[in-house]
Amino acid sequence: MTIDWTAFGQVFVVSFGSAVTVIVLFATGVALVAADTAATAGHGSRLARTGTPTAHQAVRSPAGSSSGCASRDPSRSSRGCC
């Protein structure tokens, strides 16, 4: 009985390389797209803590955490930003 271990190795290396490359590239893309929103949300959150809501904040995140925090409404504290 002959087992072609080289071919198994080839399957592993090629599939590992191709799958991990695709996943890393896609995840990097997702991270880049989501980072902009995260930065905006973080910025809004910081502004909210200082109690100085801005027009930018109101426009960029009308229903997000920043507007809720800016109102200093204790009932919104469950969102974890105030």
Partner: protein, 298 residues
Amino acid sequence: LFTVAGLIGAILWNLLTWLFGLPSSSSHALLGGLVGSAWVAAEAGAIHFDTLVSKVVIPAVLSPVVAGVVALTGTYLAYRLTRRARKEQARRGFKTGQVLSASMVSLAHGTDDAQKTMGVITLTLITAGILPSTASPPLWVILSAGLAIALGTAVGGWRIIRTLGKRVTDIQTTQGFAAETSSAAVILVSSHLGFPLSTTQVCSGAVFGAGAGRRLAHVHWGVAGQMAIAWTVTMPAAAVVGGLAALVALTGTLGIVMVIVAAAALASGIYLLSRRQPVDARNVNELPTPARPVPAAA
């Protein structure tokens, strides 16, 4: 005749594991059924056991491990890269990616499993003298195999989806994307190099890998044990059913009729049993809750 007997063995075993929601390999069931019926029809000498071990058994053991390692690495890296991203935004991104990765798995499934189905139908046509021995699969065979796989996936896949999507681990979109991409890569590379892998085992291994890539404790390894048992038993069980079907069918026309009627009755019985607890799009995410112990009377 022995091809039909082998098919019956494979179909019945597949239906039985489907009833229990266990993703067993249809490829191995098919091979097991054919081995069993060929053994009965033409003695054990007709079976190339060396080839069976090197081309089927060893890949069956290695392929889920390979897919699992690839998916584990991919899932870990995907979570690592998106750890600072907003969860909802990342979830939506990977959900979109899953449309592509799931399509790739479908394509990979076609390059692997549909070929086997086409091969069996063509083999039957050749042995029946309908096609010459050098013929390629006719177009209607190719279309029928593709259509049957698509229909089966669309109509009957919910039990397996529940097992892989909820019982093994609670799959998130990041894990789903990583598992599907890994499965597609492993199957496509194997098909390209001529390895007849089981897509079921590759996808199951990838789901376990994706579960372990997020957090080891999230994976229900008990389900892995059940699957491993089903995978181990698949070939021998399908071989026994295929062998029995061949044994009865070889007695003559009455035997053939008996085999077909018995197979149809068993398949219908399994289907009716499945209707007692139907699983579909409405309840696929609901796991059956274990019965609560009745409190003792005071």
